[in-house]
C-alpha cells in the first residue's frame, strides 16, 4: 500500500515535471498557421517623415532668420506654429491645411541682405522655380527663375523678425521639391464623367499633417470639388454648400462621414460612389457609413455600413472583367487578316481589304473597326467585325501630315489626331455622324505622336514634342458652355523619359509607355503612374525595336516589335510578375485591346 502510494507520487511528479517543462519552452513544431497578406499597397498612408523646425535664435541676423523661416515653413506641425515665430507681430500669414506652394528645385541656401539699416532689412532670395501648387492641390509645372525678397524689422527685444512676405499671397509657401515630396501626398479625388456613370480620378497634392486627420482632409477636399484642371469636365454629386458636420470619425476599420443638410438634395448612390472610391485609398478604412445631419442614410441595395469596395460599377476603368476573362487583343497578321489573339495564335476575324489596315482599333462594343492606311495618311472604318467588310474612307491627311493610331471612347466616338512637324488637329467622329474637328485643341502648335482617350472618357494621354523632345502629357476633355468641345490643359506627367514612342492606358492611374529613360539607349516599356511618382520598367530581355504597346486592366501588356525585319507581338512569360522576361511567340503586328 505504502509502496504503491510512493510510486504513484513519483509518477505524478514526473508527469507534472514534463508538463511544466513543456510549457516553459518555445514550440519547435506544430501546425502551419496562415494569415492574410497585409494590404498596404497604397502609398497614401505609408510611413512619412516630418521635418523638425527650430525656434529662431536671438542672435540670428536677417539672412539667418529668412533661412530658418524657409526651413520651418516646411513643417505643418501645429498649424505652422514654429514658422510663425519668425514673423513680426502684425504679419498675417496663415497657410492652413491647403496652402498654395511655390515649388523650388532645391532649398534656398544663400539669402542675400540687399539693404540693411539699424532697424529694417530687405533679404533677397533666388532659386529655380519648377512649378506651383494651387490651394486646391493642383500642380502646374512652370519652370522659371525665382527672385523675390523679404522685409524684416528689428523688434523692441532686439531680434529680427519678418514683416513682409514676398507677393500678396498670405498663404503662400516656398518649398523645395524634397519638402513637397516629404510633406505632401498625391491622392485622387473621384468625380463623375458627363455620362454620370464613370468616375474620373483627380489627382491633388495634400499636405500630410498627421495620419489621423488624413481621412477628414480627403473628404473635405472631395467636397471642395474638382481642381481647376478638371473644372467643367466632370460633375460632383454633392450639392453646392455641402460640408462636413464634423471630422471623419474612424472606429476600428469603419469610417463615418457626416454631411450637412445640403446633402439631402444630392443623389445618395452617386455621393456614396464618390466617397467610397476616394476613401478606399486609405488602407485603414474597410467600411464606411454615410450620415446626413447625423442620421445614417443607405444607398439602394446596400446597408448603412457599406464596404469601400462597393461601387465597382462606377470604376474609372469601366466594368473591369473579373479573373482571367479580359478581352482578347486584336492583331494584324502578316497573312493579311485582322484576328483576335487566342493563346499565342491569331484567329482570323476580318479578312479582305479591311484586314490589311494598320494600327487597327476596335470599338468598345466590338461593332466597328478603325485603322490607318500603310502610310498612316488615311483613316478607314469597317463594320461588322466578321468576314470581309468593305473599309470606308473617313479622313485623308494633308500633305506631310500623319494620323496617330485611332482611339475610341466609351460612348463609341472615334478620336484621331492629324499631326505635322509643328501643327496638329484633333478629329472626332461621334457614331453615325461625319467626322468634325475639335474646336479647341490645346496642342495645336505641336507635333503629336500618340493620342489615347482614357476609359473614363474625360482624360486623354498624348505624346507631344515639347522643347524638342517627346513628352507624355495628360489633358482633359471638357465642353465649353456653348457646347463646343475643349480638349486641352495638358500637363506633363513625368520628366524621367527622354523619348517616348507609344502609350496606352493600363488602368485609370497608370500608363504603359514605350520610351527611353534618361540614361538608357534602348526603347523599353515602362509603367508610368499618373500621380507623377517614379516610373518602373517592365520585364527583362531583348525586344528588338518596339513600336506599339497595348494595355488593358487585368490583361497582359502586349508590345508590337520589329526585329530582323519580322513583326512580332511580345508578352511577358508571367504577366502578373513585373520582372518576368519578355517572349515573342506571335508573328503579327499592331496589337490593341478593344475600347
Amino acid at each position: 500500500m505504502t509502496a504503491v502510494g510512493r510510486n504513484g507520487t513519483l509518477c505524478f511528479l514526473a508527469v507534472a515535471g514534463l508538463v511544466l517543462g513543456g510549457c516553459a519552452t518555445v514550440p519547435s513544431g506544430g501546425q502551419v498557421v496562415t494569415g492574410k497578406p497585409a494590404e498596404r499597397s497604397e502609398r497614401v498612408d505609408d510611413p512619412y517623415v516630418r521635418l523638425i523646425p527650430v525656434n529662431p535664435r536671438p542672435e540670428w541676423g536677417p539672412a539667418q532668420i529668412v533661412s530658418g523661416f524657409l526651413a520651418a515653413s516646411a513643417s505643418f506641425d501645429d498649424d505652422h506654429k514654429v514658422a510663425k515665430l519668425y514673423l513680426g507681430a502684425r504679419t498675417g500669414w496663415n497657410p492652413g491645411l491647403r496652402p498654395s506652394v511655390t515649388v523650388l528645385a532645391s532649398r534656398i541656401t544663400e539669402p542675400q541682405v540687399v539693404r540693411a539699416t539699424a532697424t529694417h532689412a530687405t533679404v533677397k532670395v533666388t532659386g529655380q522655380e519648377i512649378g506651383t501648387i494651387t490651394s486646391d492641390g493642383q500642380y502646374t509645372a512652370s519652370p522659371r527663375a525665382l527672385d523675390t525678397s523679404f522685409q524684416l524689422a528689428k523688434t523692441s527685444q532686439g531680434t529680427w523678425r519678418i514683416t513682409g512676405l514676398p507677393g500678396d499671397d498670405k498663404t503662400g509657401l516656398l518649398l523645395s521639391k524634397d519638402d513637397v515630396e516629404r510633406a505632401m501626398r498625391t491622392v485622387n479625388l473621384f468625380f463623375f464623367a458627363p455620362d454620370h456613370q464613370t468616375l474620373v480620378p483627380n489627382g491633388i497634392f495634400l499636405p500630410v499633417v498627421n495620419r489621423r486627420t488624413l481621412p477628414t482632409q480627403l473628404a473635405q477636399a472631395l467636397l471642395d470639388g474638382p481642381t481647376s484642371w478638371l473644372n467643367g469636365a466632370v460633375h460632383t454629386a454633392f450639392p453646392t454648400g455641402t460640408r462636413l458636420r464634423r471630422g471623419v470619425h474612424i472606429d476600428k476599420d469603419t469610417a463615418t462621414v457626416d454631411l450637412t443638410k445640403e446633402a439631402r438634395a444630392g443623389n445618395v448612390e452617386q455621393m456614396s460612389a464618390q466617397l467610397g472610391w476616394t476613401m478606399r485609398q486609405l488602407s485603414e478604412i474597410k467600411r464606411w457609413r454615410l450620415q446626413i445631419e447625423g442620421k445614417p442614410v443607405a444607398p439602394d441595395g446596400l446597408e448603412y455600413t457599406q464596404p469601400v469596395h462597393a461601387w465597382d460599377a462606377n470604376s474609372p476603368d469601366g466594368q473591369v472583367p473579373k479573373g482571367e476573362h479580359h478581352p482578347n487583343a486584336y492583331v494584324v497578321s502578316p497573312s493579311g487578316f485582322i484576328g483576335t489573339l487566342e493563346g499565342d495564335r491569331a484567329q482570323p476575324r476580318v479578312i479582305g481589304a479591311a484586314g490589311r489596315l494598320s494600327r487597327p482599333a476596335v470599338a468598345p462594343d466590338n461593332q466597328e473597326l478603325a485603322g490607318l492606311s500603310a502610310e498612316a495618311d488615311q483613316v478607314f472604318v469597317a463594320a461588322p467585325l466578321t468576314g470581309s467588310p468593305p473599309p470606308r474612307l473617313l479622313l485623308t491627311a494633308q500633305k506631310d501630315a500623319r494620323f496617330t493610331a485611332p482611339t475610341w471612347s466609351r460612348d463609341g466616338t472615334l478620336w484621331v489626331v492629324e499631326s505635322k512637324k509643328d501643327e496638329s488637329w484633333l478629329w472626332l467622329r461621334p457614331r453615325g455622324r461625319p467626322p468634325v474637328r475639335a474646336a479647341h485643341w490645346g496642342l495645336g502648335g505641336r507635333e503629336v505622336r500618340a493620342f489615347r482617350i482614357a476609359r473614363d472618357g474625360v482624360r486623354a494621354a498624348v505624346i507631344a514634342h515639347i522643347d524638342g523632345r517627346p513628352q507624355v502629357q495628360i489633358g482633359r476633355i471638357a465642353y465649353a458652355p456653348g457646347g463646343t468641345l475643349d480638349v486641352g490643359s495638358f500637363l506633363p506627367v513625368s520628366s524621367e523619359l527622354q523619348d517616348a514612342v507609344d502609350l496606352a492606358w493600363r488602368d485609370y492611374s497608370t500608363l504603359a509607355v514605350l520610351g527611353r529613360a534618361q540614361r538608357d539607349s534602348q526603347t523599353l516599356p515602362f509603367l508610368m503612374p499618373i500621380s507623377g511618382s517614379a516610373i518602373t520598367s517592365l520585364g527583362v530581355g531583348s525586344l528588338g525595336e518596339p513600336r506599339t504597346i497595348a494595355a488593358a486592366p487585368g490583361a497582359p501588356i502586349l508590345i508590337g516589335t520589329r526585329s530582323s525585319g519580322k513583326d512580332q507581338v511580345c508578352r511577358q512569360r508571367a504577366p502578373s510578375n513585373s520582372y518576368s522576361p519578355w517572349i515573342c511567340p506571335t508573328p503579327a503586328k499592331d496589337p490593341d485591346y478593344p475600347g
Binding site: P47, Y48, V49, I52, Q64, G68, R107, S176, R211
Partner: protein
C-alpha cells in the same frame, strides 16, 4: 447624532463580538489556527515569489528588446554611414536617408526614427510619422553629445505625438556617427500588455494556490484533529464515570496507536475500579453480616442481663449489683452501636429508602425538643425555640428527620456547657431549614467537615464509654443527602457552633440555597473563619 453614536457603539460592539468570537475560535481550535497561519504565510510567500517572477520576466523582456533595438540601431547607423559618410550633408541627402530608414516605422511598424545633423542650424533633423522630437529625452541627447563618435546609448522615456494620441512608454536608443545623431524609438505597448497579462495570471494563480494550500492544511489538520477530539470526548465520558467508553481504532498509524493505548488505559481503569468496588462491597457485606450475626447472641445476652439487672438488689455483694448495672448500660450502648452500624451499612449498600409524607417542620422540632427537654434540664441548658408563625410544610421521612434533629440536639446539649441552645426554623419557596446553635467550646478550623466522619471525636482523650456511638452525625448526613438536602456545621473555638439542616420542600428536588444562614448572625466577625458549604461536594 445620538442615533449615529448609538449605531457606532452598536457596530463597535458587533466588531468586538466578532473579534472576540474569532479569537475564541482561534484559541479553541487547532484547525482554525493552522489554516489561518497557512493562509497568512503562504500569501506572503506567493506574493514575494510573484514579485520576483515579475521582476525576472520584465527584465528578460526588456533585455531582449534592448538587444534587438541596438541591432536595429547599428543597422541604421551603418546605413547613415554609407549614405552620408562624414560629408557635410545638405538637407536633401539627409532627407533621402531618412526616407530609406522610415520603411519599418509607423503605428504598425517596429519603431519611429529621429535623425539630426548637428551642424545644421536651421532645422533639427527629421522624425517619422507623428512623433514629436521631445520624445528623445534631454539626458540622452546630452549623453550622446558628450560621448565619443560611434558610441551608443539607450534610456526609457515617454513617446509623445503631434496628434491627440496619448503618450506611450518607450525605449529610446541613440547613436552617433560623424556629425549625425540617430535615434530609434520603440513603443513598449506590447511588452506592457504582456506584462499586464502575465501579472494578472500570476495574481490569479497565486490566489488559487493560497486557497488550495489553506484547503490542504484544513484537510490535513482535520485528519489529525478529529481523532484527537474523539479521544478528548472519550476521556471526558470516562471521567464522567462511563467506564465502558472506548475509542474506535482505525488503521495502523500513530493515531490508531493513541486510540489503542487509550482503550488499554480505560480497560485497566475499569478493571481496577471494578476490583475496588467489589472489595468495598465485600467489606460492607461483612459489616452488615457481622451486625446481623451479633444480634442473635446479643438478644440472649440481653435477656440474661435484664434478669441480672432486675435482681441486682438481691446480690449480697454490692459490687456485683454495680457490675449488673454497668453491664446493662454497656449493653444498651452496644445495641445502639449495632443499630447504627446496621443503618450505616444500609446506607452504604444503597438500600436506604425514603418514606416521605408532608409534614410541618415545626411539629417535628417541637416533638424532638420535648423528648430532649429532660436531658437538657439535667445538663442545665435551656432550649430556646425560634419558630415562624406559619407552617413550614415539607415532604420528608418523619423517622429520619426526627433522628437527625435528635442527634443534633443531643450533641448540642452534650457540648453546650450548660448554656442556652437556640433552635430556629425557617422556610422559603423551595426549602425549609432547621439550625441548632450552642454556645459550647465550638469547633476548631477544619473540624466542621470532620465532625461528619465516622467515629470522629472532638476530644480524643474522652472515653469511649461516654457519649454517642460516633456514627450519629454520619448517619444524619446520609439521611439529609437521601432527601437531597444538606447538613452543614459551623463553629469557632469559644464561640460555640451551629448545625444547619436544609431540605427541599419537594422530595428529590434540587436544593439551591438555604433559608437560614450557616453562620449565626452576630457571631464573631462578619467574615467567618471557615464556612462549610454544600455538603455534597
Amino acid at each position: 447624532m445620538r442615533f449615529g453614536r448609538r449605531a457606532l457603539r452598536e457596530a463597535r460592539r458587533l466588531l468586538r463580538g466578532t473579534v472576540k468570537s474569532g479569537y475564541t475560535r482561534w484559541r479553541r481550535s487547532i484547525q482554525v489556527r493552522i489554516v489561518t497561519s497557512t493562509l497568512f504565510i503562504s500569501a506572503i510567500v506567493v506574493a514575494i515569489l510573484g514579485m520576483f517572477l515579475m521582476q525576472q520576466m520584465s527584465s528578460a523582456l526588456m533585455d531582449g528588446k534592448v538587444k534587438a533595438a541596438r541591432l536595429q540601431l547599428d543597422d541604421g547607423l551603418a546605413q547613415v554611414q554609407r549614405d552620408l559618410g562624414n560629408s557635410t550633408g545638405d538637407g536633401s541627402r539627409l532627407n533621402s536617408t531618412i526616407e530609406r530608414l522610415k520603411a519599418r516605422s509607423g503605428p504598425s511598424g517596429l519603431y519611429e526614427v529621429h535623425i539630426r545633423d548637428t551642424t545644421e542650424q536651421y532645422f533639427d533633423g527629421y522624425t517619422t510619422n507623428e512623433l514629436r522630437p521631445e520624445s528623445v529625452p534631454r539626458r540622452l541627447r546630452k549623453e550622446l553629445k558628450n560621448a565619443p563618435a560611434g558610441s551608443r546609448a539607450y534610456t526609457y522615456g515617454e513617446l509623445s505625438y503631434i496628434d491627440d494620441r496619448p503618450s506611450e512608454r518607450g525605449l529610446i536608443v541613440g547613436g552617433k556617427t560623424g556629425q549625425f545623431e540617430l535615434y530609434y524609438l520603440f513603443r513598449l505597448v506590447e511588452e506592457q500588455r504582456t506584462l499586464t497579462n502575465v501579472g494578472r495570471s500570476l495574481a490569479g494563480v497565486g490566489i488559487v494556490l493560497v486557497l488550495l494550500l489553506a484547503a490542504i492544511a484544513s484537510l490535513v489538520t482535520r485528519q489529525v484533529v478529529i481523532p484527537v477530539r474523539l479521544a478528548a470526548q472519550g476521556a471526558q465520558r470516562l471521567a464522567a464515570g462511563r467506564l465502558e467508553e472506548r475509542m474506535r481504532v482505525r488503521g495502523e498509524d500513530d493515531l490508531a496507536r493513541l486510540a489503542r493505548s487509550f482503550n488499554d488505559m480505560a480497560a485497566n481503569l475499569q478493571e481496577k475500579i471494578g476490583e475496588l468496588e467489589d472489595l468495598s462491597q465485600v467489606q460492607r457485606q461483612f459489616v452488615s453480616d457481622v451486625s446481623h450475626e451479633l444480634r442473635t447472641p446479643l438478644t440472649t445476652i440481653r435477656i440474661a442481663a435484664d434478669m441480672l439487672y432486675e435482681n441486682r438488689d438481691t446480690f449480697d455483694d454490692p459490687a456485683v449489683g454495680r457490675s449488673a448495672e454497668l453491664l446493662q448500660s454497656q449493653l444498651e450502648r452496644f445495641e445502639s452501636l449495632l443499630a447504627d452500624l446496621l443503618e450505616i451499612s444500609r446506607h452504604d449498600a444503597g438500600a436506604a429508602t425514603l418514606d416521605v409524607e408532608s409534614l410541618d417542620m415545626r411539629d417535628l422540632v417541637l416533638r424532638v425538643v420535648g423528648d430532649i427537654q429532660g436531658l437538657a434540664e439535667r445538663k442545665g441548658s435551656k432550649v430556646v425555640l425560634q419558630l415562624p408563625g406559619e407552617p413550614c410544610m415539607a415532604e420528608v421521612d418523619r423517622r429520619r428527620v426526627e433522628r437527625i434533629l435528635r442527634n443534633l440536639l443531643v450533641n448540642a446539649v452534650e457540648h453546650g456547657e450548660g448554656e442556652d441552645i437556640v433552635v430556629s426554623v425557617a422556610a422559603d419557596r423551595d426549602a425549609v431549614a432547621v439550625a441548632v446553635r450552642d454556645h459550647g467550646v465550638g469547633l476548631k478550623a477544619g473540624e466542621g467537615q470532620m465532625v461528619f466522619d465516622r467515629f470522629w471525636r472532638a476530644d480524643p482523650a474522652r472515653a469511649r464509654t461516654t457519649g454517642g456511638t460516633g456514627l450519629g452525625l454520619s448517619i444524619s448526613r446520609e439521611d439529609a443527602q437521601l432527601h437531597g438536602g444538606w447538613l452543614q456545621a459551623w463553629g469557632e473555638p469559644g464561640a460555640g457552633s451551629q448545625f444547619r439542616l436544609s431540605l427541599p420542600r419537594v422530595a428529590g428536588a434540587e436544593l439551591r440555597g438555604s433559608p437560614l444562614p450557616l453562620v449565626p448572625p452576630g457571631a464573631g466577625d462578619a467574615r467567618p473563619l471557615f464556612a462549610e458549604l454544600e455538603a455534597g461536594e
